[in-house]
Symmetry: C2
Subunit: 130 residues, 2 copies
Amino acid sequence: MIIKLDMASEVPIYVQLRNAVVIGIGKGELVPGEGLPTVRQMAEDLGVNTMTVNKAYGILKNEGFIEIDRRHGARVNPQKDKFGVFREKAEDELLLLISEATVRGVEKSEFMALCEKVYAGMCMPDAKLV
Amino acid sequence: MIIKLDMASEVPIYVQLRNAVVIGIGKGELVPGEGLPTVRQMAEDLGVNTMTVNKAYGILKNEGFIEIDRRHGARVNPQKDKFGVFREKAEDELLLLISEATVRGVEKSEFMALCEKVYAGMCMPDAKLV
DNA sequence: TATTTGTATTATTTATTATAATACAAATAT
DNA sequence: ATATTTGTATTATAATAAATAATACAAATA
């Protein structure tokens, strides 16, 4: 899995890394049980500090995307949204995004089509083979 | 228009304020040409510093949501997404949000229904009268 | 036993956020 | 004309966040 960081971005590196992993799992490029590179390896690959990677891994662990132990390192372990925590967060984010879309003149149909387009690019069963 | 700030939030105050205005315009609670409270008034209402409000207003101006002059203060002036800048940003955000939705076990149909729900709560032509 | 793992610690640097106290030019209202 | 209000700029300060650096340690592995 290839992760690209934008060092000029306002988004903190550890957030960019966290997001990349979430997207990777969502797309199926990272499958449950699969191991992530070690903290040190990932830090070396990305050219960032060990603690920056460790922070991202810690967040992914707390959010229930991966599990970590000293034997196997970090492994993909996605947990479902049991109590609707995500649904609530998603609704808040969608309110902001859809508000801006409306202001920008993007019709509802076009916004929904944008969602469809993103979903179309999600299903990549052979992504790892590419 | 009532704006609520969460002082305990990790989201900076000026970002919360910026978002609230964008949502207000999107919902139609703030109509084009309508004046926003002055920087000082808004700061007093919210109990924050003048410069914090000024920063939010400056961003809203740069993003093309309001216009500002010394005569009329800040007025709502939403600009359309002419060059697809918003569409690109929206697609990036949707990729992350939909990825997380997928991981959390939220089906596509449910996600689209969530969008529909948000849209249903958007159209409030008489919002200002309530 | 030596190595690798995640993790913790401490320190330092830089950037961001927020507040505070003024000040100024432009425009308005009295 | 004068006083007020407007957005804006300036400078300073404090608190927090982000990133790096250099180690260190216990647990697990090879």
